[in-house]
């Protein structure tokens, strides 16, 4: 309680102040100034747009690929457990390790990704400066997001697919349904709740993207790949502007609450099952 309730209230309080880090100096109450400042800060908006781009590039792909591999792995096949373990390894690995690993893979000179594009596929004859530009940087960070979270989606979908009744598929087969029809009319409705759950958590996760950006591009060049959390973190802990950082995190928290609320709206009856 102390560590969830208290900081929330305190966070709101700090966001109304020009907060002083040194105990000897007084913090001044400045009301909504920090919020006004955030909403007028072009760098803040760039970071929000970047998070949105990251979300659009990573979440649909992660969820679709997770479901795709879950459907493939649902039926018996040799080495099923091994595959499930392999897909899950990126999920349990520290963000620091995988971020540095992807930074290495996306290195401009002789990086593995550039080798793949220029030498293996011959798509381009010059190396792409992945992490030195805004859009390619966001693509690299999104690819890491997809790679790291895919296994989690896969495992959740696998568990959920097991709950869809076999007799529904048999009934659909009797009606002459092909695979696509079965997927759309039996599988998707059968896992609707789980699909929403995964989607909502992935969306929230996308707005919380942080260590990968910090370690791969550090928001650069010139703040062009900054996301809300890296920007907030820098304001709070590099420039020691705690009030401003808090205000930004509160704006983000409000957004996440709206998404979570939508989740509970969607779930309705599921809420009972959670208790």
């Amino acid at each position: 309680m102390l560590t969830t309730g208290y900081p929330l209230v305190r966070s709101l309080q700090i966001s109304f102040y020009k907060w002083s880090v040194l105990p000897t100096q007084a913090s001044t109450f400045i009301g909504l100034d920090n919020y006004v400042r955030a909403l007028a800060d072009p760098q803040f908006w760039t970071s929000v747009v970047n998070a949105g781009v990251y979300l659009l590039m990573s979440v649909p792909a992660t969820v679709a690929l997770g479901l795709f591999f879950a459907v493939l792995l649902q039926k018996k096949m040799p080495g099923r457990t091994l595959f499930r373990v392999l897909f899950y390894i990126p999920v349990v690995t520290s963000w620091v390790v995988v971020s540095l690993l992807f930074k290495f893979l996306f290195t401009t000179d002789n990086g593995a990704v550039n080798w793949f594009i220029t030498d293996f596929l011959s798509l381009s004859d010059h190396a792409v400066p992945w992490l030195e530009q805004r859009w390619t940087g966001l693509i690299a960070i999104s690819l890491l997001g997809i790679w790291k979270n895919l296994g989690w989606c896969l495992v959740v979908f696998l568990a959920s697919l097991g709950g869809v009744g076999e007799e529904l598929y048999e009934a659909a087969a009797l009606d002459g349904a092909n695979a696509w029809h079965k997927f759309v009319h039996v599988t998707l409705p059968g896992i609707r709740g789980t699909l929403l759950f995964v989607l909502v958590l992935q969306v929230i996760g996308a707005f919380n993207v942080f260590p990968s950006v910090l370690l791969m591009t550090n928001g650069g060049p010139a703040g062009s790949t900054e996301v809300p959390l890296t920007y907030m973190y820098k304001q709070a802990f590099s420039f020691l502007d705690f009030g401003y950082g808090s205000a930004m995190s509160f704006i983000l928290a409000i957004f996440i609450f709206v998404v979570s609320f939508a989740q509970f709206k969607f779930f309705g009856e599921k809420k009972e099952a959670l208790r």
Binding site: T3, T4, G5, Y6, P7, L8, R10, S11, I14, A64, F68, F69, V71, L72, K75, F83, V85, F87, Y88, I89, V92, T93, S94, W95, V97, V98, L100, L101, F104, L105, T107, D109, N110, A112, W115, W147, V155, V156, A159, A179, W180, K182, F183, T194, F197, I204, N208, P211, L215, Y233, A236, F242, S246, S249, F250, A253, F257, K270, A273, L274
Partner: protein, 298 residues
């Protein structure tokens, strides 16, 4: 893409009724396609790690190998030795082990008690407090990082490993309590009542009945707490400034910042950091998956 994935399934199922008289060949072809796609996916998952381990086992060079090495060309343990002895990764490893083990023990002990209270007692504001706990699950930690920092400062917990344990445990409790409560509630009331008839008190029931029955759930909670503490980076980055108190993620990240070209060293340290994770994951795989799907799948 999904449509393609389902084609094999359809042919396979269409064959079902006539499988006895027909040869199994069409079925096997589709199984092969399915396995091939999954193998491709698994290779994508594993290839980066192979490059990581391979790089860590090769001598450090200023330029990266082209094409990338999935298997080391010249084997050397120099990076591991240098990381372990000269760059104090042994110390970071020890710090991480200390913090993770303490966090695991603390969060399992505390949350088993709170979960028991939520599952079997009535007290004022019980539902409200449980909702607060669930809210703690939904609020991403980083949103409250500023006030937590202020709190840690006033509790004198900056720059201390025990301080890390305190906040990691606090961060884990919401989830582990949620998990354990669901499990405790499934313990049959009759067993509980039978023990009451035999004159057992609350404490005895908790220790003799609930805890042993909840072993799988406790294992789940332990795996999550351990991995959470072992992998955590942002909070440690925020509160730890003493270089000797760094945990592994901090050590690895800081090292990369200072010498951005010594990838062999960075990956030697990364490999050392990943080994316990994979060990814990493989050992607790069943429990981990049970934990993730709690709540996701009703």
């Amino acid at each position: 893409m999904t449509a393609i994935s389902l084609k094999p399934k359809s042919s396979r199922e269409a064959d079902k009724p006539s499988r006895n008289e027909r040869s199994k060949r069409p079925f096997n072809i589709w199984l092969l396609v399915r396995v091939a796609i999954v193998v491709c996916g698994a290779v994508m998952m594993v290839a980066p790690f192979m490059i990581m381990v391979s790089t860590s086992l090769e001598p450090n060079t200023a330029t990266l190998p082209n094409p990338p090495h999935f298997l080391p060309q010249t084997l050397t343990s120099a990076n591991y030795e240098e990381a372990w002895t000269e760059n104090n990764f042994a110390g970071f490893f020890g710090n991480s082990a200390y913090v993770s083990v303490l966090t695991t023990v603390a969060s399992v002990v505390i949350s088993s008690m709170t979960a028991f209270a939520f599952a079997r007692f009535d007290f004022p504001l019980k539902n409200f407090m449980f909702s607060l706990l669930l809210a703690g699950l939904m609020i991403p930690g980083i949103v409250v990082i500023v006030p937590q920092f202020v709190l840690a400062k006033s509790l004198n917990m900056l720059d201390s490993l025990e301080g890390l344990v305190f906040f990691y445990t606090a961060g884990q409790i919401a989830f582990t309590t949620f998990l354990l409560r669901a499990f405790f509630e499934r313990v049959p009331r009759e067993l509980d009542e039978a023990m009451t008839v035999d004159g057992a008190g609350i404490l005895r029931k908790f220790l003799v009945l609930y805890i042993p029955l909840a072993r799988p759930a406790l294992a789940t909670a332990a795996v999550f707490s351990f991995l959470g503490a072992w992998d955590e980076y942002v909070w440690a980055l925020t509160v730890i400034s003493d270089a000797t108190k760094r945990t592994l993620p901090l050590g690895i990240a800081a090292f990369q910042g200072e010498h951005s070209t010594a990838w062999g060293l960075v990956f030697a340290a990364s490999t050392l950091a990943v080994i316990p994770v994979i060990a814990v994951y493989v050992a607790g795989q069943k429990h981990l998956i049970a934990g993730i799907t709690t709540g996701a799948v009703k």
